[in-house]
Symmetry: C2
Amino acid sequence: MNNTLTALLGTELPLIQAPMAGAQGAALAIAVSNAGGLGSLPGAMLTPEALRTELTTLSGGTQRPWNVNFFCHTSPVPDAAQEALWREALAPLYAEAGLDMSAVPAGAGRVPFSHAVADVIEPFRPPVVSFHFGLPAPDLLARVKSWGSVVLSSATTVDEARWLVAHGADAVIAQGLEAGGHRGHFLSHDLSAQMGSLALLPQIVAAVKVPVIAAGGIADAAGVAAAMALGAAGVQVGTAYLCCPEASTSALHRSALQSDVARHTALTNVFTGRPARGIVNRAMRELGPLSLAAPAFPLATAAMAPLRAHFEAQGCGDFSPLWAGQNTSGCRALPAAQVTGALAQGFA
Amino acid sequence: MNNTLTALLGTELPLIQAPMAGAQGAALAIAVSNAGGLGSLPGAMLTPEALRTELTTLSGGTQRPWNVNFFCHTSPVPDAAQEALWREALAPLYAEAGLDMSAVPAGAGRVPFSHAVADVIEPFRPPVVSFHFGLPAPDLLARVKSWGSVVLSSATTVDEARWLVAHGADAVIAQGLEAGGHRGHFLSHDLSAQMGSLALLPQIVAAVKVPVIAAGGIADAAGVAAAMALGAAGVQVGTAYLCCPEASTSALHRSALQSDVARHTALTNVFTGRPARGIVNRAMRELGPLSLAAPAFPLATAAMAPLRAHFEAQGCGDFSPLWAGQNTSGCRALPAAQVTGALAQGFA
């Protein structure tokens, strides 16, 4: 299968394994790249040291192209009143769990892509760098492109697709509402503007001249074929890789993905402060799924972490982000190469 | 194109024109049926007399199969407190328009399918009857089936698809979140359970043994091909027919559909009390899009009607339901036969 996307990425298949922070590292990316797709390393939650280690493993584990992904959000200004509101919402749960709220550190987690992060990745000259929540500032983006990295980013609306192309994206990922994990919207935060893949994809294809990659709801070869019929140059698939042995998905998460509860996902901001799609659990039911009390991304994470740890220690995923797309029917405990091969049948 | 759906419906094409109450009558249905698809007459908003007239026109206008559609909601118990809340929400708009709230009649509009309605349609022995919001009670459904009518209904979740088949539907319409007009959900009113077509369709196909019809987001031959790749036995298309000369879509609605504002639709209950997808306008922005003040379906309609009429008289669609799906790219002022022919290319 040769097309504009394989030409751009240098891959055998126009198939990208979606970066899934918290559920995978270099191992999954290596397996997918070696199987002919584009494996992706999620960089957003890694410390500089961990990022360097993972990139060393990844670049040493495959001779083929790979991708590293970062978030491009604006770091929030901490808001004491908002944080107090959030802690008040969580207080009954802390009491139930016997946890001490005063021990929770303020702030936390994911930092946006920066020159400091670029310093870490520069020696590796990533073949592909993908971004979520827009693109980095022009000087930073120019630096990434100066290494020869191909640059991708996600669009959730036609306007975002046009913006990304105007600001230098080499290809656009059309992220349909079905997709698991964080929504990539960055121009408007009105969730009603988010579209299903069947509507979004052809409208983005019609609006931009760069290759468009379909993401959201694709779980098998039929989904791949459908996306290609709609004019996609390729696909990005995440959820279907979550149960592969090469992923680091927790046992709780794997179990939820392969059960009937996975059929009900929702967009929630209670885990990070930003809307992301996950399997509905107690945290989403009792606190959201969309909470006005949650601090700005990624500040909501800090006070949720002790609850998550407490319940996970009891084998309970009620306060864990169980990220998943709306189509978990492709989740199987099979090697990533096999999942990739099955998806590739959709290009035939 | 012969398959399980054309065999069931007796049509040349596995293509259904979606019934669109308020935007079309027999003329559009006749044009689509004569072009080889299944034309649909929306019956939900018609008086018995108007229904009889339309059915006479429809059955006299084509020798080919046609469909008539009804709603199966439970009639709401009027709630004075809720109605007062709604009128309070609308009061500033009435004041702006110089309208008199006390002149608004209580109750209104759409009645669910009943034996009285069945009395009207029985002489016409409709080849196909489709329902929205579930199915009628068993005795009423048995009566419809006794005439030989094929029965269809919409599912918005896998559970609803299974329910419809268990209760007698001959085929299931998988209504993706992209679809315009009223959502067909009837088992759960939790909108987070609603899925995009790319995720919903293959999961329903895997769950039931009857033919599955894809609806939502399909605007052209590529969309048809995508739906068929996902295992659909056929498609139902609405939005792409709204600008046909045979439709009765208002000039305001046509103009909105063919402009950039059509790219932002949302689910709203402010026009009828039940979530439906329309182009975002002032009523949706200021009252909703989802309002807790709106009375149960279809009671919200009564107090909105004078506002709608007032603004429409000024050439303004700010308080009109501008129903549309998330993909209006197929809306062209072309004869329905031509739209049908273009969509049919997707079966090739």
